[in-house]
């Protein structure tokens, strides 16, 4: 079994690994909420159960999980410091992690304090009744110019400004999108009707191969294509589904 089809049962997601990847890439699942360690454990479980080490599948899994780890660690880092973070030595990274954990600990205790304060206030209730009708309407006559209209102009100007794009140049981002690969596969389906996965990816890089696989899954899900594979590692043949 390929890593892609491994079934996951996580807090935020249930289903095959590849679908999770697709959803993450489409930003429909928040990577920050995905417990990657759980995925690794599930994969190790799966390896133990199958009793054999499928090198190809394991490599694929490692590539995918490493990419997810990198992406997630970047999401958790302060954006301004991205460049500095790249150069960390392992000890520095460990120190940073320690500092993070201590910081979190501090806020967790502050949170306990707040929860206690709230509980201590429980018996005090404030009145929440509408004003008597005669006081409810602010009267126009006593209204005075109190705001500067420039503020509104500045607010609109701020909203018209397109924020500077985040600098993600050093992140190994896929240069290929799911949409592109969908288009590519649909084109092949139309022109050839039946073709092999190898033909579809040619000698493209790993990321392109992975995204092409996601695209294939999407087509399968949408009922546009079927595929066959006679044996593990055998060529994959793709063909259009006849309605």
């Amino acid at each position: 079994m390929r890593a892609a089809t491994m079934d996951l049962d996580l807090e935020v997601f249930q289903g095959p690994f590849d679908l999770l990847l697709t959803l993450v890439l489409k930003e429909e699942v928040d990577l920050l909420e995905v417990d990657l360690a759980e995925i690794v454990l599930a994969y190790i479980d799966h390896l133990e159960r199958s009793g054999q080490l499928d090198l190809e599948a394991t490599t694929e899994f490692l590539v995918l999980i490493a990419a997810l780890l990198e992406l997630k660690s970047r999401l958790m880092l302060p954006r301004e410091d991205d460049d500095a973070a790249l150069d960390w030595e392992p000890e520095e990274a460990a120190e940073e992690l320690l500092a993070r954990m201590l910081e979190y600990r501090r806020f967790r205790r502050a949170a306990d304090f707040l929860a206690e304060s709230l509980a201590g206030e429980e018996g005090f209730r404030y009145r929440n009744a509408p004003l008597p009708p005669e006081l409810r309407k602010a009267s126009l006559d006593v209204a005075e110019a109190s705001y500067d209209a420039e503020r509104l102009g500045r607010a609109i100007g701020g909203l018209l400004r397109v924020p500077p794009p985040l600098n993600l140049s050093h992140v190994a981002r896929p240069h290929v999108t799911l949409e592109q690969r969908l288009l590519h596969l649909r084109g092949l389906l139309k022109s050839r009707g039946r073709f092999s996965f190898d033909d579809a990816v040619g000698d493209a890089d790993r990321v392109t191969q992975a995204v092409t696989l996601f695209a294939l899954l999407e087509l399968y899900k949408a009922g546009e294509a079927d595929w066959e594979q006679d044996a593990p590692f055998a060529p994959i043949t793709i063909q259009g589904r006849t309605p």
Partner: protein, 190 residues
């Protein structure tokens, strides 16, 4: 004042509506006779002319209300338009309504890149914006009010500051609404 009278006082204080004796008895888990007695004690406390708040028996039960002695001050404090400084969220929502009116809530959220319900609610509550029909998709539309113009010292909407002065890329010829929505999408992704 005994404990029951204290509790009855607290309940009358909290309730926006007059409370019948039965409701008080049920909440306090006591007899109606005991509530009547507690109310009699409270009445002594709240005898008219001594306090700022009085105990009234109106249709439907008992209620606390302010004494007319405070009416002038209450009007000064509460009937005056409330004008605390606008938060950034409120200023952005108000600017969107002012320049694009009429405009719907989903559109405001798309331009700002975040849901803006509480800012819009505050502007509505303060009477600075108001509803103005519905869009073809059924969403409520908003526009500014005469109070808005008065609070901003404007004699008409054509007196809003020239957009060109605040436009970071005035060479862009597209319609302002379209450009705001586009920038908003970018922000929501950022």
């Amino acid at each position: 004042m005994n404990e029951l009278a204290r509790i009855v006082e607290a309940l009358l204080f909290l309730s926006p509506d007059p409370l019948p004796v039965e409701a008080l008895a049920e909440a306090c888990e006591c007899s109606e006779g005991e509530v009547v007695e507690a109310l009699a004690r409270l009445r002594e406390h709240y005898a008219e002319g001594y306090r700022g708040v009085v105990l009234r028996e109106v249709a439907g039960g008992f209620t606390l209300a302010t004494d007319p002695v405070a009416e002038h001050a209450a009007r000064r404090l509460l009937a005056r338009p409330r004008t605390p400084p606008l938060t950034q969220a409120q200023a952005e929502c108000l600017a969107i309504v002012a320049y694009l009116q009429p405009v719907s809530r989903p559109e405001i959220a798309r331009i700002r890149g975040v849901a803006s319900d509480s800012a819009v609610a505050t502007l509505l509550e303060r009477g600075i914006i108001e509803e103005s029909g519905r869009s073809q998709f059924g969403a409520v539309l908003y526009r500014t009010t005469p109070l808005f113009q008065k609070l901003f010292g404007l004699t008409g909407l054509d007196q809003l500051p020239e957009l060109a002065r605040f436009d970071p890329s005035p060479e862009d010829e597209k319609e302002i609404r379209e450009r705001l929505l586009k920038a908003g999408e970018q922000r929501a992704q950022g």
